[in-house]
């Protein structure tokens, strides 16, 4: 099951994106994952076709319920790009 899902979510996507399998290769075409409507393995879910993107899609802007925790007022000299324990303490809220 996981193998099938890997193929659907990641394998097909990276193939369509022309992803290099090695870091440092800049030969990555500007190609998105959404261009192959037949890419999704229908065995994963009957209705998981990757359909066209609605260019009319509009997005709601996060309002005051969005907490910008710590994203502001960080001095530039602390951008070490090194993760800390604190960074491991927070992730995204689960979908389910």
């Amino acid at each position: 099951m996981a193998t099938r899902l890997f193929h659907t979510v990641i394998g097909v996507t990276l193939s369509l994106a022309g992803a290099s399998c090695s870091a440092g290769d800049e030969n990555v075409p500007q190609q998105a994952a959404t261009e192959d409507s037949t890419a999704t393995d229908t065995a994963v879910a009957e209705d998981t076709a990757i359909t066209e993107v609605s260019t009319e899609a509009t997005a709601s802007v996060p309002d005051s319920r969005v907490a910008e925790a710590g994203d502001a007022v960080v001095p530039a000299d602390v951008f070490t790009d090194a993760p800390t324990d604190a960074d491991a303490e927070t992730g995204w809220h689960p979908t389910k």
Binding site: T8, A45, A57, T58, A59, R65, A67, D71, P83, W92
Partner: protein, 265 residues
């Protein structure tokens, strides 16, 4: 609750196909199980609504990093998709409750701060954390739920959710394939913390789990199955995905071998 867009994925419809109008399996449930399932699906509605806010952040991050326009459009659509998901889950919860339930209280979104990351890297961390980790995990959770689901209504609902979540996960993987090599190299050190952070949130977010087979047949997962699915998602989906991109994941694999602890240092 914010309404989804009439020009969204299904042209203003909640689902790609109509949901079953009658589901005898719901009528056969014990009252306590119906109540539990109403709570479970309403809890999902609340989480889905919050993830709509998450995707607004992802959309903006994709814009800031000048990602492929089609990915930006897909992320914008995801904002709306998640609103539909919230409503879909509320509708399913109402069928179990046998009455129209109000939308749950809106949950506050806390965006991972990643304080030590540069602004450019932080955008990519947000995209990777939400799409490559969170939505990939969600796809695995939904697939596991679907594998055990028997009720026609929940089977239809889970398929609708999974179809979108796969798209949402692909946003991150496609973006990651395009990022500059320097960013991809810096990202490597963050993979283990990102995995830990997302696993921690999945484990600690309050939710009601299935405690009997009747609940599992209606799309709920037990705590044990959920935990197993989380680990499978990291081991069989996320790790191979990053490695396919040349991003080493030894630390994640080591942590996973120790049970992927998310408590303590």
């Amino acid at each position: 609750m914010a309404s989804y867009e009439v020009n969204g994925r299904w042209g203003g419809r909640l689902t790609s196909r109509p949901l079953p109008e009658h589901d005898a399996s719901i009528e056969e449930l014990a009252a306590a199980d119906r109540q539990a399932l109403a709570e479970i699906w309403l809890g999902r509605a609340a989480n889905e609504r919050r993830v709509s806010d998450s995707f607004a952040v992802v959309r903006d991050a994709l814009i800031a990093t000048r990602s492929d326009p089609s990915l930006i459009e897909l992320a914008a659509r995801a904002v709306d998709d998640e609103l539909r998901h919230a409503e879909l889950c509320r509708v399913v919860a109402s069928r179990f409750a046998d009455r129209e339930l109000d939308a749950p209280a809106r949950l506050t979104l806390a965006v991972p701060p990643h304080r030590t990351a540069s602004p450019e890297l932080r955008h990519t961390l947000h995209i990777v954390g939400q799409s490559c980790f969170n939505e990939t995990i969600a796809s695995a959770v939904l697939e596991t739920s679907l594998a055990s689901a028997e009720g026609p209504l929940v089977t239809a609902a889970l398929r609708e959710l999974l179809g979108d979540e796969i798209d949402h996960a692909r946003i991150g993987w496609a973006h990651l394939a395009q990022v500059r090599p320097e960013i991809r190299a810096k990202l490597e050190r963050w993979i283990a913390p990102l995995a830990r952070g997302n696993l921690k949130m999945w484990r600690e977010t309050p939710r009601r789990y299935a405690t009997n087979g009747a609940l599992v047949a209606q799309g709920a997962l037990s705590a044990e199955t959920t935990e197993a699915t989380l680990r499978v998602a990291i081991r069989d989906l996320a790790i191979p995905g990053f490695e396919r991109l040349g991003i080493r994941t030894a630390e994640v694999r080591e942590r996973l071998a120790m049970g992927a602890p998310t408590v303590g240092s």
